[in-house]
């Protein structure tokens, strides 16, 4: 089971409290985790990645196990601790403005 922590605005939008738990089939990558997340919560589509390019939105970052993975290739394997569910995959909104 993959654990994902969403920023407060996206938790509000998805109507979830705390962490989200997901089943991810196959390799555990940024892309497969976000695909699974958007399948369970379709209202999140477009909020973390551009609808067309699928590129990360500029003010969104991805962290795991203390590492900033925002600039890693989307199909690169995430750390084992994420795949095993011992650590969460963090979606972060940049601290800026409002």
């Amino acid at each position: 089971m993959i654990r994902v922590v969403l920023p407060p605005h996206l938790r509000t939008l998805a109507r979830v409290d705390g962490e989200v738990e997901l089943e991810v089939a196959g390799a555990v990558t940024q892309r497969s985790v976000l695909d699974a997340l958007e399948t369970c919560y379709p209202m999140l589509r477009g909020t973390m990645r551009d609808h067309v390019s699928q590129l990360r939105r500029p003010l969104v970052r991805f962290f795991a196990c203390g590492e900033d993975l925002s600039h890693e290739p989307p199909d690169a394997a995430l750390p084992d601790a994420i795949a095993q569910g011992s650590e969460p995959f963090l979606v972060i909104g940049a601290i800026a403005g409002g």
Binding site: P7, P8, H9, L10, T12, L13, E38, P42, M43, L44, R45, G46, T47, M48, H51, V52, R57, L59, V60, G93, A94, G97, G98
Partner: protein, 393 residues
Amino acid sequence: MNIRVLVGTRKGAFILTSDGARKRWKVSGPHFAGWEIYHMKGSPVDPERIYASQTSGWFGQIIQRSDDGGKTWNTPGSSAEELKSPDGSPTGESNKFVYDTSAETGKPLTTHQWYDGTQHPWEFKRVWHLEPSPDDPDTVYAGVEDAALFRTTDGGKSWHELPGLRGSDSGPKWQPGAGGMCLHTILLDPKNPQRMFIAISAAGAFRTDDAGKTWRPINRGLHSQYIPDPAAEVGHCVHRIAMHPSRPNTLFMQKHWDVMRTDDAGDAWREVSDNLPSDFGFPIDVHAHEPETIYVVPIKSDSEHYPPKGRLRVYRSRTGGNEWEALTKGLPQRNCYVNVLRDAMSVDSLEPCGIYFGTTGGQVYASTNAGDSWKPIVRDLPGVLSVEVQTLP
């Protein structure tokens, strides 16, 4: 009769309701707390159906829909019922606004004029205004930044551009105003379904006579000192246009500077600012029962976005412009430095007509006597971006 006021703010949506007396107001909200709600509007044919534009600089555009008058909301296509449907796997496209660059449009347009005069790619940022169809609750037009017009015909599940507007010859000359290059006004002609008007800051006003396939600028008579050719075909910073449904050929405009009027559907405009203390401002609206009675909120200047002399005054003309009277009763007449944004004024259709507007200071003021006197019906909300009023049976 009941009144429902839909208030979009910088940090969420609020819904104010009252009976026809319009004295006691119940406030519901914040809905979508923390998100900017640029606009909410109900369907004329199904007032319980309300569309909302929820936006964020971080997380993009969200379209929300309520089918019960704002009690509950869903992103269209992702309600619990649809998620359970064996055939209705959610597409999740209700938030997707992608410009049409297909060859079929004839001229895929990829750039417009940037602040420095160079060309700049069109980039979707947010929905500024939602205009539901007068006869189909599933059809809604959306005016977006960077300026373009989109439409849904499936209740907001998917949105498609009407590319004839952005693809018109003048597109590369459009430029952003201070608030971005936004399509903020959509007026549907109630007598001619082929005709629509839109306005863009800072390009100007445009009209279609073939239901959105082709468009032409309707800016003759506008004069804008801040552009190289003050009488150019496009480039004018139109802030708002209003129409009375009984006279769709007559339009009233609050421009960046100047209050304007046309009586031939935009073929020619003339200035009707006359004795206003400032002809800069954002909203303009028309009395529900008197097509020659119009309202503006003069603002000191384009660099000082607050009322002249710190006195918040709505100005009313009962002559369709030129002769204006200050409406002050109940409005703060000293030390008031709020602004009233372009989509933040609306009217009800009761008798006497109710006028409503929201401020950047978070007050929503209402008049139940066509502007003669005012009261705040809610105070201390986040800055108000939009106000729409529904008169319910």
